[in-house]
Amino acid sequence: MKKLYFKNGQLYNGKEIKKSDFYVVDGKITFKKQEKVDEICDIKDCIVFPSLFDLHTHIRCPGEEYKEDFDSVTKAAVHGGFTDICSMPNTKPTADNQPIIDYIILEGKRYNRCRIHPFGSLTVGLKGEKLSRMGLMKKSGAVGVTDDGKCIQNSVIMIRAMEYASTYNLFIMDHAEDINITGTGVLNEGEISDSLGLSGVPEIAETIMILRDIEMSRYLDIPIHITHVSTKRGAEIILKAKNEGVKITFDVTPHHLSFTEKDCGSFNTLFKVNPPLRTESDRKFLIKLVKSGKVDAIVTDHAPHAKFEKEYPFDQASVGISGLDTAFSLLYRTLTIEEGIPVEKWIDLISNKPRKLLKIKPITLMENKKRDFFVFNPKEKWTVTEKTIYSKGKNTPLLGKKLKGKIKYTVFQGRIVFRDGG
C-alpha cells in the first residue's frame, strides 16, 4: 500500500481544526515523520475532515442503470466526500430479498471506492401489503429497512412491519407522507402552486404521517427515524415527542435547507422534489435546528434522473435532485457562508451522526487509526456543470452555478479514491 504525505493543511480531530501534516501508512493515519513516501499532497488552505456518510441514496441499480449505475454512483459519492452511502430499496427489482442485498454489496465492493450499505424494503415490492424477508436481508448485510418514497398507508401493516423489523434490530426509516392528501400534488401547496395552477402538497400530508409514526413508536416502544422532514411543523412535532421520551430521530436534506417553493416559480423541474421545497419560514426553521444541534442527521436523498425525464411538463417530470456530488459544497454555502455556522458545528450531521444511528463506529482523525477522510478547500471556487458532476444524473438546480468550497481528495481505506483534476 502506498505511503501518502499530506502537508501544509489543517485537520479536524473531532474537537478543533488544527494545522498539522500527516502521513497515511497501511491505511492508518500517523503524524510521525516517514521516509520514502510515494505521494506528497500539498493541501495548503485545505481542511481534512472525517469522510461523509449518506443515510439516503437512490443508487438506481439494479434496474435503472440509464439513470445511475454502480460505477457512476460510487464516483459521485467519493467526489462528494462520501465513503459510505446507504442505498434505498426502490431498485428494479425492489431490494426486498437477500439476493438483491447480496448483489448491491458485491457490486459496491467491485468498484471499491466506497461502501454501499443497503436498506431493504419493509414490504414486498414497496406495495405496503406483505412483509419483506427482513431477517434474511439483515443476514446478508442490510443495515436498515424503509419503504422510502412509498410510505406504508395502512396503519396496521406499518405496525406489523415495525414490530417484525425490531425482531432483527433493524433501523427503521420512514418517508412520512399521506399519499391521499398529496394526491396529484407536485410542489408545496401555497402561493406558487396556486398562481401556477399546479396541484399542491400541503404540509399536513407530512405532519399527519409523522404524528401516526410517533404514536406507533410510543405504543410499540420501537425507535423510528423520519427522513427528509421538510416542514417547520413536522420538525416541531418530532421535537415535542422526543422531549416526551419517544425514540424518534429525523433528518433534513441540503436542498430543503437551501431552496424554497419560490424556486419552482418558473416551472423549473430541477426543483421538483418529494417532499416538496417549502416556504422560507420552513427553511429558516430547519436551519435554526441545525444551528442548535437538534437535527439528528443531514441526508442527500440523492435521486438521479436522465436528462429527458426532467424535460417533461412540471406535472410529469421525474421527482428528485441529484445530490451526492454537490451536497457538501451546497451545505458549506448555505450553512457556513450564508448562516455563519462553522463546518465543525454541522459536519457530524452528515458523517458521524448517521454512523451512530446505524451503530457503525464513528471516525476520529487521530494517530494510528484506520480512517477514511476527505480534503476540502474552503477557498477554491468551482462551477457545477454536467462535466463536473460525476453522477449520471445531472438533475441538480445548481447547474451553471458557482460554488465556493471544493473537495480535493477523498481517501478510502488508505487509498486516494478521488483527486481533484485527476
Partner: protein, 302 residues
C-alpha cells in the same frame, strides 16, 4: 410588445389597450361582406393542441385564416399524452417547418414555456392546465370594455370552479391590472387555499357576491370535480351557486352575463339567464375572433 403571450403579466396596460383598440378595428372588418385581409400573408401559424378543444381552436384558426396566414394543425390525442410524449421532440420537428407563431394548448401548466425555450418564433398560450388562458382574458376584457368603455371601478363577480380554472387566473390578473374590483364565489373546496394573496374579495354567498355587480362571469363546472369529491353533485351546486334570475336580480340593472363556454344549463347557469337580454355569451365568441386577430397582429409585428 414581448415575443410571447403566455400570461397576462407579459403585457403592460398600454399594450392591453392597444390590443383592445385594434380588436375594435378587426371587429368592424368581421362585419363586412369580405372578411379577409392580407396582414399575415406568407406567415405560418401552427396550432398545437395537445388537449381537446373546439371553440378556442376554431377561433384561432379562423382568426389566422381571416388574416391570410397559412395554418398548420397539430392535434395530439390524449393517449399520446399518457405515453409521456416528449414535447421537446414534437417542437423540434415543427420548428424544422419554419413556423412563425405557435398557438399552444396543453393540459399541463407551464408547457408554453417549454415550447418558447425551443423555438425562434412566438408562442401564444391558448390555455395551459389551470395556469393561464390570456386570450380568453383579453376577449373577456374586450367584451366588458366595449360595453362600459371604462374599466376602473367596475364590479366583476366570477362564480364557479376557481381552483382549477385557468380562465379565472387570467381574468383576475387582467381585471386587477385595469382597476376593476373582482369578487369570487365558490364552495371552499374549489377555492385556492392562498386566496388571500389573489387581491380579490370572496364570499360563499352568491346573492351577496352579485350585489352591485356590473359583470357576472359564470364558469363551467367540470364533471370531474364531483368525481374527485370536491362537490356532492350538480343539484346541490346549482342550488347554492347556480346563476338564476332571482339571483341576478340583485346585480346592477345593466349587468353583463358572461361565460367562456361551453355552458352547462341548469348547473352553473340557468337557461333563462344564459338567454336573457343581459347575456353576451355569444358575443364573446365574435369578440374572441377579433381579439385573437388583434393578438396575431401585435405578436407578428413584435
Amino acid at each position: 410588445m414581448k415575443k410571447h403571450l403566455i400570461t397576462i403579466d407579459d403585457l403592460t396596460k398600454n399594450e392591453i389597450m392597444s390590443i383592445m383598440e385594434q380588436g375594435k378595428a378587426f371587429k368592424e372588418i368581421l362585419s363586412r361582406p369580405i372578411k379577409k385581409i392580407p396582414t399575415l400573408r406568407g406567415k405560418t401559424i401552427g396550432l398545437l393542441f395537445f388537449e381537446p378543444s373546439t371553440r378556442t381552436k376554431l377561433s384561432f384558426e379562423l382568426a389566422a385564416k381571416r388574416m391570410s396566414a397559412d395554418v398548420l394543425n397539430f392535434s395530439a390525442s390524449t393517449s399520446s399524452l399518457k405515453k409521456k410524449e416528449s414535447i421537446k421532440d414534437t417542437i423540434m420537428t415543427l420548428e424544422a417547418m419554419k413556423i412563425d407563431i405557435y398557438v399552444v394548448r396543453h393540459g399541463f401548466p407551464g408547457v408554453p414555456y417549454i415550447v418558447a425555450n425551443n423555438i425562434k418564433g412566438s408562442v401564444i398560450n391558448a390555455g395551459d392546465g389551470a395556469h393561464s388562458h390570456p386570450t380568453q382574458a383579453l376577449l373577456d376584457l374586450y367584451t366588458i370594455w366595449e360595453k362600459f368603455g371604462e374599466l376602473k371601478g367596475l364590479n366583476v363577480t366570477i362564480v364557479g370552479d376557481v381552483k382549477y380554472s385557468r380562465v379565472v387566473r387570467s381574468d383576475i390578473n387582467i381585471l386587477n391590472k385595469m382597476g376593476a374590483n373582482v369578487t369570487l364565489c365558490t364552495p371552499k373546496t374549489l377555492l385556492p387555499r392562498t386566496i388571500e394573496k389573489f387581491n380579490v374579495k370572496y364570499t360563499f354567498n352568491l346573492k351577496e357576491a352579485v350585489k352591485n355587480a356590473d359583470v357576472i362571469i359564470g364558469l363551467r363546472m367540470q364533471k370531474e370535480r364531483q368525481d374527485s369529491g370536491l362537490i356532492p353533485d350538480e343539484v346541490e351546486f346549482n342550488h347554492f351557486f347556480g346563476l338564476k334570475p332571482e339571483i341576478v336580480a340583485n346585480a346592477r340593472k345593466n349587468v353583463l352575463i358572461m361565460h367562456p363556454g361551453p355552458i352547462n344549463r341548469g348547473v352553473e347557469i340557468d337557461g333563462e339567464v344564459a338567454d336573457s337580454e343581459n347575456s353576451v355569451i355569444n358575443e364573446q365568441v365574435t369578440n374572441g375572433l377579433a381579439v385573437r386577430m388583434s393578438i396575431f397582429y401585435h405578436f407578428v409585428e413584435g
